[in-house]
Symmetry: C2
Subunit: 188 residues, 2 copies
DNA sequence: AAAGAACCTGAGCGACTGCTCCAGAAAATG
DNA sequence: CATTTTCTGGAGCAGTCGCTCAGGTTCTTT
């Protein structure tokens, strides 16, 4: 419901507007990747996107709106990837790859995802997003783990694995991550 | 090694200085609890601690130093509590209580702990701290889980549980958290 | 062609930021 | 006592911040 927000932007003006909106969100993600969420400001993002500062204000009245939009987009992206993992022939291995990817390329997305969680603890507007992710992970695990209590534990482990890999000084090994995940899912 | 940094502050001046240093760190934690890490600034902390702004600069040359000090102190605190859990008659239940506590009282500490992780991904100075926490959790689990791969999974789950409970819209139930943890530790 | 909607922007205001500097108070040391 | 070290805090500088606003351009519709 969040991904399909724009039905048909037939109007050329609106289309251009939405293009710029996306451009700003992408610039924001680049800033987050480079210098962290704290570095995000209207002026910095404007410079990154090569647009005048007031353009940022135009599309996102407050910085907060920009942040929420970027973090939501990031969540969308992650959930889509998670769904792809589900459809893959070896879902657990695909998930391990996704976790490891969050270390190198897509680093900004992992950072943003966790900043989203932290922010959601304080901003009610973001709580549905955090919930959406939790539901996504649960849906991913449901086919493999029947018991809800056990599933809750493994779901928490997935989040924790993302975090630990993201913070690790050197990129983790796919095999190791897969081994840990497989052990959890198989219930030992 | 981090906790016992001050051997014997015999000098009364230094003692007063260290008292104020602690006072500033505590004020910082209060600010984090109330408005998040982003709200931490020299002036805000100074006002919270009821000292002139320059006093903050005196004890912590840069804001970053204050942040690192506060986050390190928080980590110390958490590790100590984790060790207490280990020594308790029912360690897993004690851990569950610690997790739930991070939702209400001690909320700032949970927030700070995760901000610490996020920051450690970018600042080398903080990486030993993140590692210290990971080691602490591993040490907690070692007596209960022999296999290192399984232990890594459960350790990640502990981190994830902290995060999920912290972000949950309503405080989690101790029994539920305990059930999840017990299932993980018992290896199903 | 006229009207109106959507988009765009440069200038700028007030508030806050990190940080420096320096003169003086307080306390330990000789 | 005088000296040295530590601590205190007011003033202030240069920079960034979020955000407003008035007026402009571009495109669609009538």
């Amino acid at each position: 419901m969040n991904t399909a927000k724009a039905p048909v932007p037939t109007d050329g003006r609106r289309r251009k507007g939405e293009r710029r909106r996306r451009l700003l969100i992408e610039a924001t993600m680049r800033v987050i990747e480079r210098d962290g969420l704290a570095a995000v400001s209207q002026r910095v993002v404007a410079h990154e996107a090569d647009v005048p500062p007031s353009a940022v204000t135009y599309y996102f009245p407050a910085v907060d709106d920009l942040l929420v939009a970027a973090l939501t987009a990031c969540n969308d992206d992650y959930l889509e990837r998670l769904a792809e993992c589900s459809a893959s022939p070896n879902p657990v291995r695909a998930l391990a790859r996704l976790v490891v990817e969050s270390t190198g390329a897509r680093r900004a997305y992992a950072a943003a995802e966790y900043e989203l969680f932290l922010m959601s603890a304080r901003r009610p507007a973001l709580q549905p997003e955090a919930l959406r992710w939790a539901d996504g992970v649960d849906a991913f695990l449901a086919p493999h783990i029947a018991d809800p209590v056990e599933r809750a534990g493994v779901a928490a482990a997935v989040d924790g694995l993302f975090l630990r890999c993201f913070c690790a000084p050197e990129p983790p090994d796919v095999e190791q991550v897969h081994a840990v995940l497989a052990r959890l899912v198989s219930g030992q």
